[in-house]
Structures are given as C-alpha cells and as structure tokens.
C-alpha cells in the first residue's frame, strides 16, 4: 500500500482549478518526483498535499487515512511532513530552536531526536546556536529537511529543495534525499531540475498545464522526448 495516495485531485485558488484530476502514489523507500514547466501546477500540488490548499475534488490518503478535508496543522500528526520552497526556516531562531519546533508534533523531549539528526547533519551540529538566517542557502534547506524529519514522518514532501543552489550543493541535497528514502519514508519531490530528478528518482510524473501529462519509472521517462513535452508538443501518455 502506498504511504501517500492522491485520487483524481483537482485544486486551485478561489474557484479556478490549477491542477486537474491528479493521481499520484508514493511508496515507502522510493522517490517520486514531480517535474514540469513553469506554471504546470507542481507547487500547487505540493500545497494541496499538505493542506495549504483544499482540493475541489478527489481524495488524499496518508497511510490509508483520508486527510483531504483535514486542517493543515493536523496533517503532520498523520505522518506527512512538508519542506516549503525557499525561506523555509525560521531565520531569527537558532538552528536548534528550528529543530525543536519540528519536534513538537510528537510528545516528549525532542533533545534526543535533535542529537540523532545532528549526527546525520554534522554541519547543523556545528552551527546549532547560530541564527538560522545566517546559514547558507544550502544549509538552510538541509535544516528545513532535518526539521521535517524531527516528527519521524512516513511521507516527506519537498518543494524544490535545490532551488537557487549551486550544482555542488544540489548534489549534497539530493544525496540526503536519497538517504531519507532508504529509511522507510516515501519521498515526494517537486523539482525544476529535470536532469537531477531523472537521475535520482524512482518514479517521475511530468505535469503540463495542470495535468499529469505522463508518468512512469525514471529510466523510461528519460527515453521520452522531454523538450517536446515541456513545450506542449506531445500528447499525454503513460510510460509505465
């Protein structure tokens, strides 16, 4: 059973749908990536998953629990964590405080969990007392990911985690994403960088104009004429 299931989800702003009838399954241990041209509805999809936007139609299930109409703040309790795009840390708080905030979903002292995460992210350990706003952009993204892991989620949704990063640091972030997936976690990544997404993902969905244009294993998607799809010159299909 997939940790995350969306069934024909339609969502948007006001009464205008941006994404239409999207069905995406994300399984534990695998990276599912959403790519597509600007304005395709990738971030809208991510925001719908985490309750920032409410679907107009369709269902969203996390570990078989229907979260479709659930208030956004209750969703993390059901095992779904979200890492927003850019400006995703509390800049005036210390690194440690950022992590503590992420741990409040679960009862108990977050100190032990923080120490575990510092072992995984040694850069953050060194900077634990620093203001998060003083970290580099890449470190801030790693902090946001670490903070999401504080709640030990079964699904983690990352909205463009490498946006604005240099190629070198992009590799570091993707390396971490791959490792998170190996930890009984379903990873959903919204990504602009097609090459990176195809290299690291298990399953890829290409959104075009708010629809799931084509999806399938990354290797099969790689074989498609992607420039044509991104420029809207290809019909939708399923690669799988």
């Amino acid at each position: 059973m997939p940790a995350l299931q969306t069934e024909n989800v339609t969502a948007g702003y006001g009464k205008t749908p941006i994404i239409n009838e999207i069905s995406v399954d994300a399984e534990v241990g695998r990276i599912t990536t959403i790519i597509g041209p600007n304005g395709a509805g990738k971030s809208t999809f991510a925001k719908t998953l985490v309750g920032i936007l409410k679907p107009m139609a369709g269902r969203i299930l996390v570990n078989d629990v229907d979260i479709t109409r659930m208030p956004g703040h209750q969703i993390p309790r059901h095992g779904l964590a979200y890492v927003p795009q850019n400006d995703n840390v509390f800049k005036r708080m210390s690194v440690r405080e950022n992590l503590e905030i992420g741990g409040f979903v679960k009862k108990g002292d977050p100190a032990a969990r923080i120490e575990e995460l510092f072992e995984i992210f040694p850069d953050l350990a060194k900077a634990h007392a620093k203001k998060a706003g003083l970290l580099s952009g890449g470190q801030q993204n790693l902090l946001a990911i670490a903070r999401a892991l504080m709640a030990n989620p079964s699904v983690i949704v990352l909205d463009e985690p490498t946006a604005g990063l240099s190629p070198a640091y992009t590799s570091v972030v993707w390396e971490q994403i791959a490792r998170i997936a190996q930890l009984d976690t379903a990873v959903v990544v919204v990504e602009q960088n097609v090459e990176r997404a195809l290299k690291h993902s298990d399953l890829v969905h290409i959104f075009v104009a708010g629809r799931d244009h084509v999806h399938g294993p990354a290797q099969e998607i790689s074989a498609l004429d992607l420039p044509s799809i991104f420029l809207g010159r290809s019909h939708s299909s399923e690669a799988a």
């Binding site: 985490v50 208030p71 956004g72 703040h73 209750q74 969703i75 993390p76 964590a81 979200y82 927003p84 995703n88 840390v89 509390f90 800049k91 005036r92 708080m93 210390s94 440690r96 405080e97 503590e100 905030i101 992420g102 409040f104 100190a111 969990r113 120490e115 575990e116 995460l117 510092f118 072992e119 995984i120 040694p122 850069d123 350990a125 007392a129 620093k130 203001k131 580099s136 952009g137 890449g138 470190q139 903070r147 999401a148 892991l149 709640a151 030990n152 946006a163 604005g164 990063l165 240099s166 070198a168 640091y169 590799s171 570091v172 971490q176 490792r179 998170i180 930890l183 009984d184 976690t185």
Partner: protein
Amino acid sequence: MTYYIFTLVFFLFDYFILAMGLNIQYGSTGILNFAYIGFVAVGAYVTGVAAMPANVTGEHYILGLGLPFPLNTLLGGVAAMGLAGLVALITLRRLRTDYLAIVLISLSLVFYDFCNNDVSLFNGADGLYNVPEPLTRALGLSSNGFIIFFACLTGVVSLLMWLVMSRIMRAPLGRTFRAVRDDHVTAAALGKDTFRMQLKSMLIGSFFAGIGGGLLIQFGGSFNPTAWLPGETFVVFAVLIVGGAGNNMGMFVGALLVETLLVHLPAFLPDIPGHPGLIEYFDLALVGLVLMVMLWFRPQGIVPERVRRTPSFGVSEKPEHEAGRLDRTTALAAALGAVEPAAGAEEGR
C-alpha cells in the same frame, strides 16, 4: 519633587507592562494590533467600575461593585482579555498583517466613539472620576504617600508580570509564537494551529493591557476618552520599536526612554521663555522623530531580540546499540553514516 519623580516611576513601570503585552502580540507573534490602546481602556474602565461603589452622584456607569485591589484590577485584565478573544475570533481567521491592522484600528475608533458618546456605560466623554485609591485608608497614606506607594506597587506588579512573560517567551509556546510570526505557512506545515497560537497571544497580551490600564486609572483616580485617543497606541508601539521588539528587557528600556523621558518628562520641565505651556506639546513630535531615527538606523531596537541560549551540544560518542536508540532516524545514521557537504561545495543562493 517626590511627586514628579514617583509619577515618572509609575509611568515607567506601567508602560513596561503595556509594552510587554504588545510585545507578545507584535514582537513575538507578528500581530499588528493597532487597537491596543482600546484594550488598555477596557482594563481601565472595568477596573474603575469594579472599584467604585454602586452610586456616585453625577456619574453614570455599570457594575459599581466596590471591589478592593487587586480583585478590581484582575477583573479589568480579564475583561480586556475577553474583548480581545471576541475581536480575535472575528478578525484573525481571515485577516493578516496590514489588513488586520486596518480592521483593528477601525474597531478601536468605533469603540472609542461608542464610549465617548454613550453615557450609560462609562460616563461618556466625562469618563470615570473619583475612583478609589487602593489601600490608602488601610495604610493611612497621605496624598504624596499614595503616589510613592502606588509607584512602588506598580513596580512589584511589573516585576511579577515580567517573570511570567519571560517564562512564556522561553517556553515552547513562546517559540511557537515566534515561528508563527516568522512564517505562518511553515509553522502550520509543522503541525502548529496558527490561529489558536495568535488567539493565545492576543489573550495574553490583552490581559497585560488590561492590568496596565487598571493600574493607570487607580493611580490617577480618573480615566476618560482623552486618555486613550487611538493615536496613543503608537506611543506603545514607539516604546516597543525603540526598546527592541521581541525582547522584554527592551520594553523596559523603551518605556524609560519614550514614555518616561520623552512623553512625561517635558511636562515637568521649565517653560520656554515667551512660550508658556509649549514644551509639553513637544512630546509626540519627539516620539515621532525618535521613531524615524530608530527605524532608519537601528530597526532592531536598542536591545534587540536575542537568539535563545541552547544547551551545549555534544554528539554522543557511544555506539548506537549502547545508546539504546533504534528508531528510524538513528538507523539511518548508523547504516548510512553522516553526510558532510561535498568538498568545495558552495551554495549559490
């Protein structure tokens, strides 16, 4: 001279309380409450009518409970909190930042006009007067003795409230307030009910406003609409901005510089030759000037918000099996090892 000094001391401590209330709302939670002085007024009026006897010739007001200090003041704080809860329920769900500020200042103006014109509630434009001076009879205090006593009492109350507020700010609740202030979307994504957090912040801050107002009316013995013109809110904001939003000690510094030295001290200074009474009208101009200078050169305030101290970190040297932790994150660390950034990796954002 004693009267002047202890009047300034009273205003220092009273505005310290008021600024702490606004600080938790704006400095910690980011609620731009331009109606703050309205909650101070509710606290003052309710404390007044709770302290006054049922019938005083020439005054019209509700309640008249004749309650002693501190019960009357606490009632004032609770009343301000109650009104804040009502206002927050109406406004906070749908409005943020500048839109919220516009609605709040509008509500403040409506409430001001209502209190100014309706005589039955708090005696209209005349306001409440002859409010009993607390504990004067019991302690046998003279008029000047009361000023000294009440200024010191306000100091003790402000100290207690500072201790309470410091505890709140250091607690997980305070951290969550700051998370909501910095990014309410991310805070919600981390499982925080941002509306409930803002509501709590409004309630706590307004309780402080009510207590500050309650002390104010008992110190002066009277309170009327000229004491809480909506513009007075910006004096409390000036205290907060000059002192340093997000830092309670900054509120004390702000109260000392703005309320005590700029607003009240000029009234006690000798007249400018040829311009009698002019000097006491300088206060708001001075406050505006200082506010502009601060926002331009030191927007973080004199005592800026500090990063909270955290316990010193030491990565456990024990092997994972000895540490006895076998959850998923630990398993990841153990199985895959920690990740260092790639050599020479530099982010480009």
